[in-house]
């Protein structure tokens, strides 16, 4: 075995000019993951149950793309290997929350891993939406490991500058 193969962060990344899909490629997601891990281990040290919301040691934070038009917001998330019944999408306070669990295949007991790059475990992703949306006009579909959500924007009333609030004179 060459010594290079023992060094994980040098293991043939960016070969052939290809881009890596690892979360580590994105410094911000990396920072978020590291912070989550730090908090999780801190609360574990306290012996409390704070960090029990999912197995943070194996974060499987999905990557998300958000795009919008005048009347809709389009959110796609990469969730390979997750079944639709293991995904939950909720809308709360202008945030779209995607949570779920990626379960490891457990059909065979006797196995050795040569290489583990994919991530497993629970995840929760809260995505701030760029506009107010109508919760009656949400359509979510799931195909080939990509979650596709279209949210209709709330149609503002005739005055686009904002709702006019009448001021009453108090006698």
């Amino acid at each position: 075995m060459r010594i290079r193969e023992l060094v994980p962060w040098r293991s043939h990344e960016h070969e052939k000019g290809q881009l890596s899909r690892r979360n580590e490629a994105d410094p911000f997601i990396n920072l978020q993951t590291e912070m989550s891990r730090l908090f999780a281990s801190f609360f574990e040290g306290l012996g409390g149950s704070f960090g029990k919301d999912g197995d943070l040691s194996q974060l499987a934070t999905p990557k998300v793309d958000v795009a919008e038009t005048n009347d809709a917001v389009h959110v796609t998330a990469e969730l390979p290997g997750i079944k639709e019944e293991d995904v939950e999408v909720t809308l709360a306070d202008g945030n779209l929350v995607i949570r779920g669990e990626k379960k490891a295949e457990k059909e065979e007991k006797q196995k050795n891993y040569y290489r583990v790059e994919r991530s497993y475990g629970s995840f929760r992703r809260s995505i701030p939406l760029p506009a107010e949306v109508d919760d009656q006009k949400v359509d979510a579909s799931f195909k080939d490991g990509v979650l596709d959500i279209v949210l209709g924007k709330k149609q503002t009333s005739s005055s686009p500058a904002g709702k006019k609030i009448p001021v009453r004179r108090q006698d």
């Binding site: 043939h12 070969e15 052939k16 000019g17 290809q18 881009l19 890596s20 899909r21 690892r22 994105d26 997601i29 990557k63 998300v64 793309d65 958000v66 795009a67 919008e68 038009t69 917001v73 389009h74 796609t76 990469e78 969730l79 390979p80 290997g81 997750i82 079944k83 295949e105 065979e108 006797q110 196995k111 050795n112 891993y113 040569y114 290489r115 583990v116 790059e117 994919r118 991530s119 995505i127 760029p130 195909k143 080939d144 490991g145 990509v146 596709d148």
Partner: protein
């Protein structure tokens, strides 16, 4: 970013890719595990269905290539882009102990499962699959 080698294969997916020269090519994340009779390779290929997946085995070189089918976002303004839309490609070297005639591939929920059975005489030997 199109570092894809040109070979004799020409599928619908690839023709489309050649038209869209700006498409990026990504390296999918894989797990490789050794079970009693097989070596199993799992690759995350979100957005790829079975008709846009191209697996080739040339001697010891196994190439996985997937063309991502994404809904058209024409007319949309990007707000937050964490993953680029592009295709997947990764090359592996497999050893002679894999029974080439019995390799099976299935794709489900954006994950490719490739089962590489060991040949009878090599069932007890270690089989190398090297990610390149």
């Amino acid at each position: 970013m199109n570092a894809r080698p040109t070979d004799g294969h020409s599928t619908d997916g690839q023709n489309k890719n050649q038209q869209a020269q700006e498409r990026a090519v990504y390296r999918p994340m894989v797990d490789i595990l050794d079970t009693a009779g097989d070596v199993v390779l799992l690759a995350d290929l979100p957005g790829v269905d079975e008709s846009h997946l191209d697996l080739t085995l040339d001697k010891n070189v196994l190439t996985i290539r997937g063309a991502v089918q994404q809904p058209s976002l024409e007319g949309y303004m990007p707000v937050r882009m964490e993953y680029g839309i592009g295709d997947f490609e990764r090359v592996f070297t497999i050893s002679d102990d894999v029974d080439r005639d019995r390799i099976e591939a299935t794709v489900k929920d954006g994950v490719l499962q490739l089962t590489l059975p060991k040949t009878a005489h090599s069932a007890r030997r270690k089989i190398n699959v090297v990610a390149r």
